[in-house]
């Protein structure tokens, strides 16, 4: 029996872009040019080839394909417009203080417990209303796209926020390659379910009905700001931040940015996301950052920009669409955002 072992340099069959996709991608990029100009408002888009100095950030052993893509990344492709206020959080804070309920309810639980998550090998099922679905190795999803660094504000629904430099690829790119059919209206995302790896899923008191599910309208998902992160701070994602693949939608509350994605489905009906399932009066489908619509349990008018201290709580006004209104407000024209919260 002949067993063919691929050499590391060999081209995977899945890396070869079918011509139809290639062409539609060009059309798509052309269509984006207009929005791309709008993206400049998100900040000075001064992409650089120089990797920023992340010397304090602990490095770990990323796969070779990740390193190759990273080394060719476009650094600081999107940066905050007000760098004085939007200072990047220290890596220790962004990786040590977050919610990932699969690993517990405390803010430091993910960092303490996510070591059990196995991220290699990792594959993602792309299915539903697509012509080019299937199960894809993470490498095959990521490598056809240009890696970019985007420094986004992340606003948690709990009224705190951090500025985080993500490294990854455009979500639109991935969706486009899957070739959505005309029936596709929404994108539904799913996190891994594996109670052996994820202690939070073993709790019999969990309110979340696993898997964690999130969703976007197709036009939201295709927006140039919507991002699939594979890394942050110039390295691959640490497990607790949703390794190896997570969503980042900067104008929505953080819980929309689903972590450790194993499935992306293009669907016709609006998906029911996990938090909506638990408390529909508190968490809507859209979950756009909106200082005028309070969460029933706390105000959304301000946020605590982290890290803060006892003497400087760093409370700042929350901005509409988390400060990305120029880019995304048109997605919601004519909608009552008090009803569609």
């Amino acid at each position: 029996m002949l067993i063919k072992i691929a050499k590391p340099g060999d081209l995977h069959e899945s890396e070869v872009t079918p011509e139809s996709v290639y062409l539609s991608r060009r059309r798509f990029m052309g269509g984006l040019a207009g929005i791309g100009a709008g993206l400049a408002f998100a900040g000075n888009t001064k992409a650089s080839e120089q990797r920023p100095d992340y010397n304090d950030v602990p490095q770990s052993d990323a796969p070779d394909w990740f390193k190759a893509k990273r080394d060719a990344a476009e650094w600081q492709a999107v940066v905050p417009s007000d760098p004085a206020q939007d200072k990047t959080a220290p890596y220790a804070d962004a990786s040590g203080y977050n919610n990932f309920f699969e690993f517990g309810t405390g803010k430091s639980d993910p960092a303490r417990k996510a070591g059990t998550l196995v991220t290699e090998p990792w594959s993602v099922v792309i299915d539903g209303e697509v012509n080019n679905g299937g199960r894809f190795a993470l490498e095959d999803i990521a490598t056809p796209s240009q890696f970019e660094e985007r420094i986004y504000r992340l606003r948690c629904v709990e009224a705190w926020s951090m500025v985080i430099p993500w490294l990854g690829i455009s979500l639109a790119d991935v969706i486009q390659r899957a070739e959505p059919t005309s029936k596709a209206k929404y994108v539904r995302f799913e996190t891994l379910v594996d109670p052996d790896q994820m202690p939070g899923q073993r709790s019999s008191f969990a309110l979340i009905d696993w898997p964690y599910v999130e969703g976007l309208r197709l036009d939201e998902a295709m927006h140039p700001l919507s991002f699939l992160a594979l890394g942050m701070y110039g390295r691959e994602l640490p497990n607790q931040n949703g390794a190896p693949l997570r969503l980042v939608v900067p104008w929505k509350y953080g819980f929309k940015s689903i972590k450790s994605i194993v499935r992306i489905s293009l669907v016709e009906e609006q998906p029911l996301n996990s938090w909506q399932q638990i408390a529909a009066n508190e968490y809507g489908f859209y979950a756009n950052v909106n200082p005028d619509v309070d969460h029933p349990r706390w105000s959304q008018a301000t946020e605590r920009r982290l890290p803060n201290s006892l003497f400087n709580t760093n409370i700042i006004d929350t901005r509409m669409f988390n400060g990305y209104a120029d880019e995304v407000a048109s997605l919601y024209s004519g909608m009552d955002l008090r009803v569609n919260y």
């Binding site: 804070d93 008191f205 638990i278 349990r297």
Partner: protein, 208 residues
């Protein structure tokens, strides 16, 4: 069992120190950057949970006395009650300073609009009333009504648990454990149940 008086003095002093230790520990952690990127919230949550522990300790003193007849438990009741109040006041102080950033207008609107804040404030008011009437003068003045008034501590426990329940987001386990302990302590004060405690003591004694 009779013990020399200095034992009880020592006992009360150790309880006082033990109640101070967590505050010192959290303060030390904050001072040494060990409390994470949001130290104010770290203090808020820990002190709030500490207040609940103290309230549960305070309410366990009567059943423990019935079970053991050791008078040391009675001697620390007022102290633990006042510590509960102190922690609760610190908890509110953290909220006003670190979450609201001393924005008094927002404090007003939060008290009116957020059920969990309303319930927390009611619990604090209750603790304040009990703290204010915990001195000898008030005990004499109130007479029999004092006991009735101080049974409100169980109502306060229920309010605190509700306050806690309303901040739970993703998993009920931690809350459930506290609620179970709280419910047990409440059950132990139901007359038929509480009457069994001295009997249980007899039985334990015989079997010993």
């Amino acid at each position: 069992m009779s013990m020399p008086a200095y034992i009880f003095t020592l006992w009360r002093a150790s309880v006082f120190v033990a109640a101070l230790v967590p505050l010192a520990w959290w303060g030390w952690q904050v001072a040494n950057n060990m409390a994470g990127p949001e130290p104010g919230r770290y203090l808020l949550l820990n002190i709030g949970l500490g207040a609940l522990w103290l309230l549960l300790f305070t309410l366990s003193l009567t059943p423990l006395t019935k079970l053991t007849r050791w008078k040391g438990f009675n001697l620390i009741r007022r102290q633990l009650g006042l510590w509960t109040l102190a922690y609760a006041v610190l908890h509110l102080t953290c909220y006003v300073l670190f979450i609201l950033g001393l924005d008094w207008a927002r404090l007003g609107s939060e008290i009116v609009n957020r059920p969990y804040i309303i319930v927390g404030m009611l619990a604090l008011l209750g603790l304040t009333a009990l703290g204010a009437t915990s001195n000898r003068w008030a005990m004499r003045k109130l007479g029999k009504r004092w006991k009735t008034l101080h049974k409100a501590s169980y109502l306060i426990l229920a309010l605190v648990l509700l306050h806690f329940l309303w901040v739970v987001r993703a998993d009920m386990q931690e809350w459930f454990v506290y609620a179970l302990v709280g419910a047990l302590l409440m059950c132990l004060r139901i007359p038929p149940v509480s009457r069994t405690l001295p009997k249980l003591r007899q039985r334990l004694k015989q079997s010993a």
